[in-house]
């Protein structure tokens, strides 16, 4: 398993998340196997309540699994203690949430620099980096704006910039366009495309087929399990394109 773990940027084996007991037992994630190579973009699609978000929370160390293994960059992470898990979230994982989850009282740039400050970087370094990230997502002119003064799409771009603050190994995005209109969705889509092109490893949970189409692979999920996998481009270096292979 360790060899396999070293091969992939992110790997899950027999991953389970269960709630309740006996007859009330619910398997939110049921024996999921997942491999994500470095620079790959994987999209997970499925109906509401199928366990997509739970899977993402397990992969990112936001929640504890009931069983199975998770490996990140060759290191097993599902058995880490609370503090090590916090370090993992801080240094190796970037999150993008459907509800943006920006701090309302902080400006765009203050939100983006927060993970760097939590990681102990100097305020000056954190601010310089945050300015750069905001420029990267096209919001340099909105750096001093509060989230309430930004549109939904702009907020999500700030959240994406924040997810990149500590140069994560993998970015996990949970329904990143779920709260956005068409134009904003397009902006976010372009952003993910550029991240993908830059070699950032991405796992995106989405309902939106346009977002899913930016991925190298598309995984369908139902009742906590993977039921289908489609390779869209055939590799991390590909561009958006049509399905290349469908696995039963």
């Amino acid at each position: 398993m360790s060899d396999t773990g070293r091969t992939y940027m992110l790997l899950a084996r027999g991953l389970r998340k269960e709630y309740g007991k006996g007859e009330g037992l619910v398997r939110a994630v049921d024996e999921v196997d997942l491999e994500v190579t470095a620079g790959e973009t994987v999209a997970v699609m499925g109906p509401s309540g199928c366990g997509k978000s739970t899977l993402l929370h397990l992969l990112g160390g936001l929640d504890r699994s009931s069983g199975g293994e998770i490996w990140l960059d060759g290191r097993r992470v599902d058995q880490l203690g609370e503090r090590a898990l916090a370090r993992l979230r801080r240094d190796a994982v970037g999150f993008v949430f459907q509800a943006f989850h920006l701090m309302d009282e902080l400006t765009a740039v203050e939100n983006v620099e927060l993970p760097a400050l939590l990681a102990g970087r100097s305020p000056r370094t954190a601010r310089r980096q945050a300015d750069g990230l905001l420029e990267q997502v096209g919001l340099a002119d909105r750096a001093k704006f509060l989230p309430t003064a930004l549109s939904g799409g702009q907020r999500q771009r700030v959240a994406i910039a924040r997810s990149l603050a500590n140069d994560p190994l993998v970015v996990l995005a949970d329904e990143p366009t779920g709260n956005l209109d068409s134009q904003a969705t397009l902006d976010v889509l372009r952003l993910f495309d550029s991240l993908h092109a830059a070699g950032q490893t991405l796992v995106i949970v989405t309902h939106d087929s346009r977002i899913a189409a930016t991925a190298d692979r598309l995984i369908s999920m139902r009742d906590g399990a993977f039921i289908d996998e489609t390779r869209l481009t055939g590799g991390a270096t590909g561009h958006l394109g049509a399905p290349a292979r469908i696995k039963g």
């Binding site: 990112g60 929640d63 503090r83 916090a86 509800a99 920006l102 009282e105 902080l106 927060l114 939590l118």
Partner: protein, 574 residues
Amino acid sequence: MGRILLVCRLAARDLRRRSGEAVLLLLVITAATTTLTLGLILHGVTTSASYQSTQAATAGPDVVAWGGPPADVMALAHAQGVIGHTGPYPVASPVLRVRGLTVPVLAEGRDQAPAPIDQPKLTQGTWVGNGAVVLERSFADTLGIRAGDSVTLNGRPFLVAGIAVTAANPTDPPTTPGLLWLTRADARSLATVAHPLSFTLNLKLADPAEAPAFVSAHAAGDGTGILWSWEFIRGLDTQVVTNEQLVMLVGSWLLGLLAVASVAVLVGGRMAEQTRRVGLLKAVGGTPGLVAAVLLAEYLILALIAAAAGLAAGWLATPLLTRPSLFPGLARAPGAPPLTVSTVALVVAAAVAVAVAATLVPALRAAGTSTVQALADAARPPRRRARVIAVSARLPVPLLLGLRLVARRPRRVVLSGASIAITVTTIVAVLVYRASNASGGPGTDPVGQVMLVVTVALFVLAAINAVFITWATVLDARRSSALARALGANSRQVTAGLSAAQVLPALPGAMVGIPAGIALYAAVSNGQTLIIPPTWQLLAVVAGTLLVVAGLTAIPSRVGARRPMAEILQSETA
């Protein structure tokens, strides 16, 4: 009528659903109403009639003289206006030991035959005899001594023959030793080189009203003798009640302020939780007026119950503060006056005022919230303090999180700081009182006892406040805490941040409490000597307060920081 019933039913249901919080609120308001009731009842206590009855029962003197040698004291017996005297009686100053306690006493030598002036009235046992002493009642009560017990004086055993009261003993409880009577021979035998005998003489004047003038005319001015008029003695007894009244009234005001802070914090927290309920009420046709009425009714119900409980508790506790042992010169205690209609009305009004003051703004705010927003359970947007955010970026993670939490809810910070300031003010006022009034023996200070009770009540209320405020902060910051953890802060850092958010406002609160406590004592002490306690004591109060706040907030902070972040981030909207 139907509308009132509906409001009451909805309010009662919600109270039952959150019974734990309701009980806490009830306790908080009851503490304030109990103290207020005590203060108001004590305000009606007068000791003049009680002192006069003691004077009559003991043939109390108009003037008491203390000093020596006996010839000097006796000269007063022949002064103009004096129509009778008893004494001079020898007074020794031995050390009394009983059950491991050692206290200095004044032992007054008496004849076995009754004296025509100042014959102490026995409340237990018999009068003095060879090897048998009689203890002044408040002193005996303080030490828990009864007739038939044994004590030693300067190491010699004596039987306690009886307990008695006198109108001739100007006992200032915190500063004078206890008093007992024994035979003249026993008194003389207890004199030592270090503590020789002094003498006391009781005088009867032709015109008792002239006693103060007599004292002024004959006071030595060189400190060799002491003269007390009966009015002076009565004044000291009355002073005990006056001081108690003052402490209780000031205490009830402070407790009332703390209660407002407690209720405001609790109500704020509950209102935040009730946003969705408000939305539902409005969605099914509830008017803003109905919503505000339901929210206010809950707290009015609690306030009325607390007022009733406070009145009952205060009325039951009053005898403890007017018990005979607290009034050394009185043959009978002043007794507690009955509850008056005005007392009841004032206490009920105060309880209702506390509830309304703390709930009106949140209730009106909730009533004015848009139905859609309320149904979405949108959190109240936090305040932004740009400078605090900039400064906090330079601090370690726990302080960064704590300071930003502080900046989010300035009203809560003010309540938290005020709560601590009120408590520290009281503690410092008690320390100043202790420093300014050195104790004359164990438990001989009724005002000090009342102060202690008020301080303990304030401390408990402040502790409840600290926990409430922390929990309200935990609830309010659940999304930002979860987000901070998702972004890499660990739960220890978040716990420390939540605690820091309580300790940071406690520091200025405690610092303000030091001068405020000194000022409070100066304001209510009627120009009495004011001795400021040592600096280390004052600093210890500040440090102790911060430690206690940190300790009290640690558990709710820890619970808050360990809530499942995925669940919170999943359920909370932006």
